[in-house]
């Protein structure tokens, strides 16, 4: 036994899979200890905020200012406002306005802005231009204002007594603040989702729920599969016939069809994560049953079983002592596979909109579902779906890797 365990941990495939899985598990366990926020709390007003560090502007203005004279500051400022896309857009507008193409050099920033400032008129709407496009040019215009100036921004506040605006300070272009000194900074490593929820917190919580679903579904499927497989294989006869009848029935009906039908008939409101897990478990025991039955059939005529019979052991004792230990490795492997396929099944169901109800807890499948409904993939909001896919892939990959590792350790031993 000890020897086998040592051998398992010497299998590189198992180790890699195990490490990935443990890493995911540890993150799921420890992340909530550090970030205590509700995973489904809506913090962002708006959809799909990009990943990044969000610094509170109000606090920023009021925090200590430092002067740093950096050469490339102006250049960077312009570049960030005026990317290639913006330049092309400006060119487009100017061309439509009637400026000859030769006169527009989109890489000469100064000239381009000058040309723009001389000609741009917010009220003009060219034929075929949508109003959204018109507004976009309006915004572009605003952001360009003062791009070339070297003046600072004047801060003003209303005087309580006179009601007049009074200057309270100037923010120079060379002013800097230290992020560490700003009272409110929120890091959103994966941005926010369509509802304005912190993606990372949500993703960690979803991973936990999905693992739980996989575990419950896998346990149920393995328990049913093991019990039926043992009974069918060891007792045989009509017991075997009946069990195999149902197993075959479930084999010819794809379990995903059953899953969809059952989930649909349960109804959205009744479908908690656990319910979904149970449904998945009850529809995916088939191949465990088959595998266990086949193993047991090959074992039940072995001489060690015969010897156990001759030593006066009951059927129950023989199944527990002379059959189970011999198939334990297979059962463990089947269990691992069932967990990972349970997670995938939940994801599949949720993408179809038949997953757990959406108000309770996030799951990996639900997150995919939300991202899809809000067309994150079309709008290029990669952070709303890509990390989810990566987690699903990693979980599934690590489990399959562990399984392959186990297979390599166990199989030669069983064949010896």
């Amino acid at each position: 036994m000890k020897h086998t365990i040592r051998e398992i941990f010497h299998s590189p495939k198992f180790l890699v899979g195990f490490s990935i899985f443990m890493f995911i598990l540890l993150v799921v366990i420890f992340y909530p200890l550090f970030v205590t926020a509700e995973p489904l709390e809506i913090i962002g007003k708006g959809t799909f905020f990009e990943p990044g560090i969000y610094v509170n502007v109000y606090d920023g203005v009021n925090s200590k200012q430092y002067t740093l004279n950096l050469d490339d500051a102006a250049e960077k400022r312009i570049a960030s406002k005026l990317g290639d896309q913006e330049r092309l857009d400006m060119q487009e507008w100017l061309l439509s306005f009637g400026i000859p193409e030769e006169e527009i050099d989109i890489y000469d920033t100064e000239k381009l802005i000058e040309l723009w400032e001389n000609n741009y008129d917010r009220s003009i709407r060219f034929p075929g231009m949508t109003s959204a496009r018109q507004k976009y040019f309006g915004r572009l215009n605003t952001s360009l204002a003062g791009l070339l100036s070297t003046e600072g921004i004047v801060l003003a506040a209303e005087n309580q007594e006179t009601g007049e605006l009074e200057s309270t300070g100037i923010i120079e272009q060379t002013n800097y603040l230290n992020v560490g000194q700003v009272a409110n900074v929120r890091v959103l490593p994966l941005g926010t989702d369509n509802f304005g929820r912190d993606m990372l917190t949500e993703l960690v919580s979803a991973t936990g729920t999905s693992l739980k679903i996989g575990f419950i579904a896998g346990s149920i499927a393995t328990m049913i599969g093991l019990t039926l497989g043992l009974l069918a294989g060891y007792i045989g006869g009509w017991v075997d016939d009946i069990i195999m009848f149902f197993t075959n029935l479930f084999t010819v009906i794809p379990s995903i069809v059953l899953l969809i039908l059952i989930s649909y008939s349960i109804g959205q409101e009744q479908r908690g994560a656990v319910t979904v897990a149970v449904v998945i478990g009850f529809t995916s025991w088939v191949w465990t049953t088959r595998a266990v039955r086949a193993q047991v059939i090959s074992l039940r005529h072995r001489d060690h079983v015969n010897l156990s019979k001759l030593s006066g052991h009951s059927v129950g004792h023989i199944i527990v002592h002379d059959i189970l230990p011999y198939i334990a490795s297979y059962v463990v492997m089947a269990f691992i596979l069932q967990i990972s396929s349970g997670i995938l099944a939940e994801a599949g169901l949720s993408i179809l909109g038949l997953g757990p109800k959406t108000t309770d807890v996030p799951t990996l499948g639900l997150m995919m579902n939300w991202a899809m409904i809000y067309s994150a993939h079309i709008m290029g909001k990669w952070w709303a779906y890509f990390p989810v896919i990566v987690v699903i892939a990693l979980v599934s990959f690590s489990m399959n890797l562990m399984n392959t590792g186990l297979d390599q350790v166990f199989n030669p031993a069983l064949r010896e």
Partner: protein, 270 residues
């Protein structure tokens, strides 16, 4: 051996067919056998002739597809667990392959402990049990103290078969079926093991069914020899009749397959 004695075990028309349809194999094709108390009989046959299948039917480990088995004059009834248990107190076996006959997850003591429990000694004080196990082990030249906490597969093939004999020592059955118990053992241990088994037989007066393809062994130990070919007993009788004066060509072939032994005992009978 008194002849009028009622047979301890009797099989009539015993048949076993494996599989269905095309894949059907007739492993045992209707054999009769009678076994008197205290007798040693030998079943000799080449590989695949159905010896093990026959033995397992007699043991009640596989159900015959035809024929009857009588035990102590009555039709054998092993329909319930209790009846089986009762039957197996009387009839035991040692199997062909010691390497597959033990549960690899169980230690040696538990193998022997099972026997004590089966003989109704489950409630004996531990000391008593250890004494019994020690005695059984020393009968087959094994040291029980060295074996506790060991697994059967940590022993050699010969030691494992000796442990099997120790098991029989504790179980004290009426009938023992020894199915080619030395076929997986090196030649040296072979004689020791057979000696031990015969000594045990003399000690507890067992009836023994030897199964072998070793004609020499059959000649030495048995009161009666059955020659098995393709699921049938083609010839039977005393060793002198069957082995020294074989009638069937199959028997003659079996004998000529082991010329060395033939010569050996041919000389010894002079």
């Amino acid at each position: 051996m008194p002849n009028k004695q009622e047979p301890l075990l009797k099989a009539v028309g015993l048949t076993k067919e494996f599989g269905f349809g095309r894949q059907k194999t007739l492993a045992v094709a209707g054999v009769d056998i009678e076994l008197k108390e205290g007798e040693v009989i030998t079943i000799v046959g080449e590989s695949g002739s159905g010896k093990t299948t026959f033995a397992k039917m007699i043991l009640g480990l596989i159900a015959p597809t035809g024929g009857e088995i009588y035990f102590q004059g009555q039709l054998r009834d092993i329909s319930t667990y209790k009846k089986k248990l009762e039957y197996w107190k009387n009839i035991q076996a040692i199997f062909q392959d010691p390497y597959s006959a033990y549960n690899i997850f169980h230690k040696i003591d538990s193998v022997l402990m099972d026997c004590i429990r089966m003989r109704g000694g489950g409630n004996l004080p531990h000391k008593e049990k250890v004494k019994m196990m020690t005695e059984a082990c020393s009968f087959v030249n094994l040291k029980f103290e060295e074996l506790t906490n060991k697994y059967p597969f940590e022993l050699s093939g010969g030691q494992m078969q000796r442990l099997m004999i120790a098991r029989i020592f504790l179980l004290d059955p009426k009938i023992l079926i020894a199915d080619e118990i030395t076929s997986m053992i090196d030649a040296c241990s072979r004689a020791t093991i057979l000696d031990m088994l015969m000594e045990l037989r003399d000690k507890i007066g067992m009836t023994v069914i030897f199964i072998t393809h070793d004609v020499g062994l059959a000649y030495y130990v048995s009161d009666k020899v059955y020659i098995m070919e393709k699921g049938l007993f083609v010839e039977s009788g005393t060793p002198d009749e069957v082995i020294l004066h074989p009638k069937e060509p199959y028997t003659k072939r079996l004998i000529s397959d082991v010329p060395k032994i033939y010569e050996e005992w041919d000389l010894s009978t002079v």
